[in-house]
Amino acid sequence: MIRAGVIRAEWVKFRSVRGWVVAVVVAAIAIVGFAIDGGAQGSCYGNSCAQPTGPGGEAVSDSFYFVHQALAGNGAITVRVASLTSAVRSPRGGTQRVVVPWAKAGIIVKAGLTPGSAYAAIMVTGSRGVRMQDDFTGDIAGPAMQAGWLRLVRSSGSVITGYASADGTRWTRVGAVTLPGLPTTVQGGLFTTSPQWTQTSLGVAAITGDASQSTAVFDHAALTWRGAWTGTDVGGSSGGPAAGPATGYSRAGRVITIVGSGDIAPATSGPSGLGVTPAQTLAGAFIALTILAVTGAMFMTAEYRHRLIRVTLAACPMRGRVLAAKTLVTGLVAFATALAGTAVAVPAGERVLRSHGVYLPPLTALTETRMIVGTAAALAVCTVLAVAISTVARRGAAAIAAVVALIVVPYVLTVSIPVLPLGAADWLMCVTPAAAFAVEQTTVQYPQVDDVYAPAYGYFPLAPWAGFAVLCAWTAVFLTLAAVALKRRDA
């Protein structure tokens, strides 16, 4: 057990150096200051950018062109998608044909026309084959066809099954989903939609993108029900039609052509999404981290520089306890400082961003707490890592350079000046202590939405606690090395 006296001695040492106390205060101010600096500007005032929420409570995009009729009870819809083509605005004017991987055309049944309502759909996509999707997050892969026959069957009230076929005779069952609480009468029919087209040439340095528009040609439509088709632009064309004819539909005999733009998918932040991630409010945390880590390194190396280590070890000959006490004091000071900063920065920063018209996706209280406490904990553990490294290195200059190389450089390379290609950026954010910044992750990466999932946009390759565990592993290794070095070496 560490005696309270050892801890108090270390606390007094820390408190009595004015420079360190000032540094800690500056760190807390940096966290809050960058959150409320209020330079960001958006155009989402009031509820103008509010996105619908899906049945699971997450923010979603739900806009598509829907050719539908009211369908009561069980039955089936069959159709052939003859073709699906997409276009974006060409830089030279006019339009340009592109492959939008997640352009969608097919059959959908939906609880109502309100954006965000429950649905199940089977579709062909630009380049991802046949998909059966439901309630925004469900995604089942089917055969790899760019066009072909699709069938959606509603049976026993809430079970919906999707089938696909290349020739209209031999059918493959893609999947079945259950939509609890689906009303007896639903809106069902054909749809086309086309998400933001983003071209990343690796790294985030170069992103070009635009809203896209897709045209799908349907024929051989066959329904159990008999009704008249109505066309509705569900969700409005929020992105604005990019190119080509306006969204809508036309019929020529048995051929129905639908032009759509938008997406039916979970909403993401980043270049293809809307607004910024709430992690933006913690932009100053990294500056605080640098200050705290350097202070932690100096707290240890000052002992060696002023030969104070001899007095310290004479007073407490159990060297492991000295290291433990130093770790505890720096860790707690850093945690308290950072927590004071983040607890103010996140709510205040969100308020400032919203008041400047910047759209922020909705956050649960749990996620917000994880951001606040997790960031403070990450800063505290980084400071402890700096103490451990400087115990091993003993020389302050080398210790600080090592801390910067391990923690700051990976962050600068992947987030501040994202020069690294995505693969290398993700790798760095998996293996270096900077992985701990995954605790700021608030958004989910969906395979069925194309976006630039880069650390620079708040998408970290590791789950929040996995990233934090990477930092803890680094710290544990260096603390062990530090304990061994302190015991073996003369002071």
Binding site: A206, A283, I287, V408
Partner: protein
């Protein structure tokens, strides 16, 4: 002056840290550059990637070593008390600092030129296979690439001199390292963290790292906060300012 340089040279190379620091500068710079080159792809025309900045990506890590070399060149003397002997031998403090700067800058310049040359060469060989072809609008044998290499080499040398100047001013390696690395890395982090675009651009213009990086850019030059040579000039101003401050303080104060 020649005797001062010879004395400083002997001191620098009898310190076991010197060859290690230069080796670390070369190895870390080349390693980061090679990883970046190896993972970069340019699938379409005008993909917006700068082949020079990919090849020179190692500068981001190499500069930390260069700064450390600069700081330790003088900071180490204060830690051991050697500075008293040095000033007894060379009482002209301006001359001492000039000799130290020359003895530091020469090897750092050579090591940087070698490391960055190797990295750029790797880029010129590998990148065309990753889509950086003439058809996609790239000319890897251009003067701009040579200019980028030249700017990056001078940049690393200036960072080392900046470290020396700060060490002379604060007389402590730990504090000096913290200050120089903070100066280098915190400007771009602050520029990203700040929402106001005009303020961020101004920070990019005055920060030594982002200004120095402008010199390594070969595409979209009109979008840069500064022209390449002006960017290098900003770094030179920082280094000169640090050396001047360090020199004046060295002259004014006791060791």
């Amino acid at each position: 002056m020649r005797r001062a340089i010879r004395a400083e040279w002997a001191k620098a190379w009898s310190d076991p840290a010197t060859p290690w620091l230069l080796a670390a500068l070369v190895v870390l710079t080349v390693a980061v550059s090679d990883v970046t080159i190896g993972t970069a792809r340019c699938p379409v025309a005008a993909c917006g990637q700068d082949p020079a900045r990919l090849g020179l990506a190692g500068v981001y890590l190499g500069q930390a070593v260069a700064a450390l070399a600069g700081v330790l060149a003088l900071g180490g003397e204060y830690a051991t008390g050697m500075i008293h002997v040095t000033l007894t031998a060379i009482p002209r403090r301006r001359r001492l600092l000039a000799a130290k700067a020359l003895v530091l800058a020469g090897p750092v310049l050579v090591a940087s030129a070698f490391a960055l040359g190797a990295a750029m060469l790797a880029g010129v060989i590998v990148l065309p296979g990753h889509g950086f072809t003439a058809g996609h609008g790239y000319d890897l044998a251009s003067w701009a690439m040579a200019r980028a290499w030249c700017c990056a080499t001078v940049y690393l040398t200036l960072v080392a001199v900046l470290g020396l100047g700060v060490a002379a001013a604060v007389r402590d390696s730990t504090v000096a390292t913290g200050m120089v690395l903070g100066l280098l890395y915190l400007f771009p982090i602050a520029a990203m963290a700040i929402g106001d675009q005009a303020v961020a651009r101004r920070l990019d213009q005055i920060g030594p790292m982002s200004a120095g990086l402008d010199g390594q850019t070969t595409i979209d030059l009109h979008g840069l906060p500064l022209t390449p040579w002006a960017g290098l000039g900003v770094v030179a101003l920082w280094a000169a300012g640090a050396i001047a401050t360090g020199g004046v303080l060295l002259w004014l104060r006791d060791a």
